[in-house]
Each structure stands twice: as structure tokens, then as C-alpha cells.
Subunit: 154 residues, 2 copies
Amino acid sequence: MTAKAIQDYYPDEFAHCYGCGPKNQEGHQIKSFPDGDEAVCHYTPDPKYSGGFPGNIYGGMIASLLDCHSAAAAAYFKHREEGLDLETTPPHRFVTASLKVDFLKPAPSETVFELRAHAAEIKGRKIIVHSTLSANGEVKAKGEAVMVQIPENR
Amino acid sequence: MTAKAIQDYYPDEFAHCYGCGPKNQEGHQIKSFPDGDEAVCHYTPDPKYSGGFPGNIYGGMIASLLDCHSAAAAAYFKHREEGLDLETTPPHRFVTASLKVDFLKPAPSETVFELRAHAAEIKGRKIIVHSTLSANGEVKAKGEAVMVQIPENR
């Protein structure tokens, strides 16, 4: 792991996301880190993000975490494939074309979530990212995201 | 449309969701209404729920809105199929087994979103809900959710 998270390398104009933007003071500010051929994130959600039943986190937040983590992971995977270093070359920016979440079990609040992601496929500007959200060592949700690289001139 | 939203009929112990729970004072408290064979919701998101670029809403929130609206829609569709009235019989409770979101275009903040949902399939305890999120008359995202009815004794 590096000291700086992948999101900390986002250019300022792209850093306002409620889920993962370092510039969004009110947001979750999740931090994803390179970990070999995976990206990993640890995050403890505030209980206010309750699901229908208190003590669990609402589905939308699970989707948010998997989405933002997968976007950061895609930026890292692309850099890694191109042999680039985040320290010297800013990450490419990715947007989510689609996200599928399988909600396997309730995800308890006030627990440290571990998010992991890996690239199932890298094809040109498109990366398919598979991800998991775990709590207490058990996978609670799985994600499959299609991430698309934004052209540099936009 | 009825005066009360579908979510307003949720039993108290199921009404804490950050996305749609009437009991969650800090949450979005979205309100979904029956509209023939559809359910409809109008919602204006706070700009703090920004995407990477300010002026748009982050993907996680789009997923949240489609998810919560689809859950309410499923409760309504099941009632409708069974010929029940929300005024006299509390809605069945549904949880999301899976959610797929296609992000078609950026969704602008400080705009009234219109969410619509219909039942693509009702089969026993499972309802497949198709949904859209529109702004300024244009569909910005599409959802497909598999909703599963919780047994009454749980």
C-alpha cells in the first residue's frame, strides 16, 4: 500500500464526488489503495446511513461504496497495465457505464467494511471491475461495474 | 395519486432507511406514489450529493434513488396484484436481491428528478422492477431490480 490513496491523485475538478471526492467535505471520502492486482478500501459507515431496519446500512450506500471503489480501482488498473506510476502521472478518469450489485446479506453499520476490487477484463478504454464488500470476514455484497475511461481532452 | 406516499405506510420498524425511511430525519425521505401500473417519485437532490464534477449527482445516489423507489414500487405492485388497499392493509416488505443501473447521461443537481417504475415480472415472492430516472424530460439512468418479499413472520 502507498501512503496516498488513489482518490488523492484525482485532479481537483474531478474530486467533488460525495462518495469519494477528497474535496467534498460532507461526503464519505472513501480511500482506495493499490494492493497488487487488487484495490482495497476500509470504511466504517456512520449509523445514520441506516437501512430499513436500524443496525444495517442501506442498499444505496453499498452501491455507492462499490461504485466509487471500482472507479478508483479502474484508474489504478489502467495505470498498472500501462506501467505508469501514480506519483508521476495523474490517473486516468473513469465513469461508470453500468453497475450491478448483488446484495447477499445485510451489512452491519458501525463495522469496518473491507472493499476489494480486481479487473475481470481490460479492453481499450473499458474495464470490467469485480468487487466485494465484506464485514466481519464475510462477503455481504458483490459488484460488477463497467468503467469507461474519459477522453483526456474532455 | 394518493395523498400519502407508499413509504408512509411502512411499519415503523422498517422505516429507518436513509434513502426512503420516513423515520430517518437525516435521510432523503423520498416519496413514491401509485400511478396506475407504475409508481412515480419526484425528488430534488441537494447539490452536496455531487458527482466528481460539480453540477451533477454522484452515481451512488442515482443507485440509491432507483433502489428505494423500486422497493416501494414492489410493495405497491404486490398489493395491486392481490387486490389490496394500502389504506386498510399494510404493504408487504421487500428487500433488494440485486440491482443493475445503467448510467446513460450525467444527472444534474438542483433539478427535479422524476423516477418511474413498473413491474416487468411478478412471480410469487419475487418482483422484477424496471425503473428510470429522468431530469428535464430525458432519461438519465435505468434500473433493473430483483425485489424479494420478506416473510411476514420475520
